[in-house]
Symmetry: C2
Subunit: 140 residues, 2 copies
DNA sequence: GAATATTGCATAGATGTCTATGTAGTTATG
DNA sequence: CATAACTACATAGACATCTATGCAATATTC
């Protein structure tokens, strides 16, 4: 019989994943960075020069939250704000060289997290997990 | 090939589950209650008179967080604090009648959440999901 | 083309959770 | 038995995120 504990398990895994990311970043000497900051940077590594709103959509936070996240990343020198030419309302967030230097660190943290999540599963189990989770996301 | 997006999916599902709970409680006319409050009450329905520390363990939050949660639940009249006879340091949290009245509401919210999570899965898929998630929790 | 609506970002205030610390009661030790 | 160590809870301060709102730039409509 189903135990109906998926919600509790998901919540717990999520908490521990966040904690793992934070701990790993600290160990790599990166201070004052939370997982959401990492999320922003990871998306910028894929596509530099996204707008605040696009980043919010990408990392699943609200726009004001991303404004605050970018404030901090900017203060730390990892990104800079550039006004869009075509639409002066739009602020494009661009990586600085210092921000780009961090890419390997974030990649390794991401790898470490995935190793923790997937390390005990076969390839098929991993695929099945992704399939089931993906199915659930469409229910909300 | 694995997409290695389990972390993102889990985070997203967790966020939406939290939101669902909050929305449902509001619709049931219960104001100012967050999922963690519900967690506390759900455990008290199973076993009344738990200590603050036991509750913290049960819902996976820290002890100071539970103190704050209990403060609010007490202010709203759902629980009361009772000093333990055997150990005066221990504060037992007990449901009031008003708190007990809420049990059906929380049960229905919980059912609603599980329906959302499991509703599109077969019984076997639900079991497999639980098995995989459980396997992952042991990796941290 | 001027008035209105929409869009993008920033700011303010609130809230939930955390770590660090304080306080009181209990247990252990010399 | 008195002192030290431990345990349980509360409080304080910090921080990430949210909603609500303001402001400025752009698009739409009459």
């Amino acid at each position: 019989m189903n135990k109906y504990n998926a919600a509790a398990l998901i919540s717990r895994i999520n908490d521990q994943a966040q904690k793992l990311i934070t701990t790993e970043l600290e160990q790599q000497g990166i201070e004052g960075i939370v997982p959401s900051h990492g999320g922003v940077l990871m998306f910028l590594y894929r596509q530099d020069g996204l707008s605040v709103t696009e980043l919010a959509e990408a990392i699943g936070r609200t726009q004001p939250t991303v404004t605050v996240l970018v404030n901090k990343l900017e203060k730390l020198g990892y990104v800079k704000r550039v006004k869009s030419r075509s639409d002066q309302r739009v602020t494009l967030i661009a990586l600085t060289s210092k921000g780009r230097e961090l890419e390997p660190v974030f990649r390794s943290v991401s790898d470490r997290l995935n190793e923790t999540l997937y390390g005990n599963l076969s390839k098929d189990e991993g695929l099945e997990l992704e399939r089931l989770l993906d199915k659930i996301t469409h229910r909300f």
